[in-house]
């Protein structure tokens, strides 16, 4: 059996995530950290590495790094130093990257994941440290030269290093998605500016000793991290099963072909010659400063999930769905300030509101109807003044067109409210039953699912303008006679 050899092994994976922080200025200089500007316009003599220039730490970078550390239950180091990581590359003008080596600001944290089957998985965070990005090199624009844009050089990053706790491509995907969600909820990274290196090894199930690992560099999407892991795990098992040996190499992943190739062997590994950065004085944080960040942390997806499922009684599926997108979750939070019909609130957002956003290809911040108006709409349905399909199909689209009037005003103007008296309803019921005498007989003989047919007829006769709960009750009573 050719498949079974793969079942004998388990993958051991650790991820290093580089997340660009959404500060205004760069990590160690005042030029803009903005994205999308003309090449080489966001630069300074510090970014360019001119002799005699001195870097200075952006205090926001420290705050953001601590936030991520607190969110992932890390210990926060008070006594921080910076280090130089030396290497030559054209998009790194100084000849070194300013990073943290032996004193990462956050250590020993963890993050909890939920697998698709509902089981939990905890991934340890080894460390989070602060560093800077390099510039951008373009190799395919010119025959002889590489073109260098230094706008990105010096943009602040945090590197989040996980323990080798991840066991599959699926878990890697969950971990990356969760980290991205936390970064977005903290409002410290837009979540799109993430790059990932994956350290991958395999071992026989039950073994405690780690196999030789390969590091796959510069994966730029969750999907590509998963593809690289799937390919690499299979490759390593094939090599070992064929009697071979895994060399500890640095690999490149080609997103087009989906395969990895050797970038550097262990012998060619860079010697970065880390040493303390003498240009940046140490940063000594006060415990009170860290505590104040901890006290002012925004609510994170994990806490909100507990609140949504516990306090508001939503299903795990609904809660996870709302929390997928921070802005949507905030809209829900705003909505339930105005209504206690939590389930209805969730349904309206995940149903009609999301459909509208998808159709128009817009974000929730561009959704024209305020949360308080949606709350009024929910109250209108709950009080029996309009039925829900009428509300969804007619009133909701009108509310998008007319954002100044209340749902009740709009419904009144468009004659959508239930204005049918119970006498009228009785009339419609009698009419409907008179139309299908044989069906009535069948119903009375026990075919109770025919109730829907009669109800449909009643709704049609009333043109939808009746309270279905009330009508259902009256209909059932009429059939009992």
């Amino acid at each position: 059996m050719s498949d079974s050899k793969y079942d004998l092994y388990e993958a051991v994976i650790g991820l290093e995530i580089h997340a660009q922080l959404s500060t205004l200025s760069k990590a160690y200089s005042s030029d803009s950290a903005g994205y999308g500007d003309d090449p080489n316009t966001n630069i300074s003599v510090i970014t360019l590495g001119h002799p005699g220039t001195l870097p200075m730490v952006n205090e926001k970078v420290i705050e953001y790094a601590i936030k991520m550390g607190v969110a992932t239950d890390c210990e926060i180091r008070l006594d921080n130093q910076y280090a130089r990581k030396n290497y030559f590359y054209a998009d790194l003008p100084k000849g070194y990257q300013i990073t943290q080596d032996t004193t990462p600001i956050c250590t020993k944290g963890h993050i909890d994941l939920k697998r698709a089957d509902g089981t939990k998985k905890t991934v340890g965070i080894t460390r989070i440290h602060m560093e800077e990005d390099a510039g951008k090199s373009m190799h395919d624009q010119d025959v002889y030269d590489s073109l260098i844009d230094l706008n990105r050089a010096g943009v602040p990053l945090i590197e989040i290093v996980s323990e080798p706790d991840i066991r599959s491509a699926e878990e890697a995907g969950l971990y990356l998605a969760e980290i991205r969600k936390v970064l977005r909820y903290l409002d410290i990274c837009d979540g799109n500016s993430m790059r990932c290196d994956a350290n991958i090894s395999v071992r026989k199930k039950g073994d405690t000793k780690l196999g030789n690992r390969c590091e796959v560099k510069n994966l730029n999407s969750i999907r590509n991290v998963q593809r690289a892991i799937e390919y690499e795990v299979k490759r390593q098992i094939d090599v070992i099963e064929a009697g071979g040996h895994i060399d500890q190499n640095t690999l490149n992943f080609d997103a087009g072909s989906g395969i990895t190739s050797v970038l550097r062997s262990k012998e060619m590994a860079n010697d970065y010659r880390y040493f303390p950065e003498p240009d940046l004085p140490p940063v000594q944080l006060a415990q009170s400063y860290v505590d104040s960040i901890r006290e002012h942390m925004p609510e994170l997806p994990e806490q909100l999930f507990l609140k949504y499922t516990g306090v508001y009684g939503l299903s795990a599926y609904d809660a996870a769905n709302l929390l997928e997108n921070k802005e949507i979750a905030f809209y829900f939070d705003e909505l339930i300030k105005h209504t206690t019909h939590y389930k209805a609130a969730a349904n309206w957002i995940m149903g009609p509101v999301k459909s509208y956003l998808n159709e128009q290809a817009v974000e929730i911040r561009e959704f024209p109807v305020s949360a308080s108006r949606i709350a009024e709409l929910i109250e209108l349905i709950d009080s029996g003044k309009i039925n829900s399909s009428m509300a969804k199909d007619r009133l909701f689209p009108e509310m998008i067109r007319n954002t100044s009037a209340s749902p009740e005003q709009i419904a009144t103007e468009n004659n959508l409210l239930i204005n049918t008296s119970s006498d009228d309803v009785q009339g419609f019921i009698q009419e409907a039953l008179a139309k299908y005498p044989e069906k009535v007989a069948e119903y009375k003989a026990g075919k109770e699912n025919l109730l829907g047919l009669f109800m449909g007829e009643v709704m049609k006769l009333a043109k939808g303008k009746l309270d279905p709960k009330e009508a259902n009750k009256l209909l059932a009573e009429a059939l009992e006679k």
């Binding site: 205004l24 200025s25 030029d31 003309d38 080489n40 300074s44 002889y144 940063v283």
Partner: protein
């Protein structure tokens, strides 16, 4: 510490410098002389002295997150040996 040809090759590579054999022999002799001279310092007991990293006692020299444009695009490119109107240009480098 003893300097040998192997170490010179390594340091030269790290500094992206190239030397011929005659130069390397001269460098080996020079460096060994310099190092043995400096090794005199080893006679001093420094076991209770912290390594000196910073030239002042300052800590927490931080800056607010504010954008200041100090130089223009043109000024940035001015001293580059090779450039066009947008980019610095360097000999093609593929592998990182």
């Amino acid at each position: 510490m003893q300097i040998n040809q192997q170490l010179i090759d390594k340091i030269a590579h790290l500094a992206r410098l190239e030397f011929n054999d005659a130069e390397k022999i001269r460098i080996e002799q020079d460096l060994n002389r310099i190092l043995s001279f400096i090794e005199t310092l080893n006679e001093v007991d420094t076991s209770s002295v912290e390594p000196l990293i910073y030239m002042s006692d300052e800590v927490n020299v931080l800056r607010k997150d504010e954008v200041i444009r100090e130089i223009s695009h043109e000024e940035a490119l001015k001293n580059a040996p090779k450039k066009d109107s947008d980019y610095f240009r360097v000999p093609k480098v593929i592998e990182k």
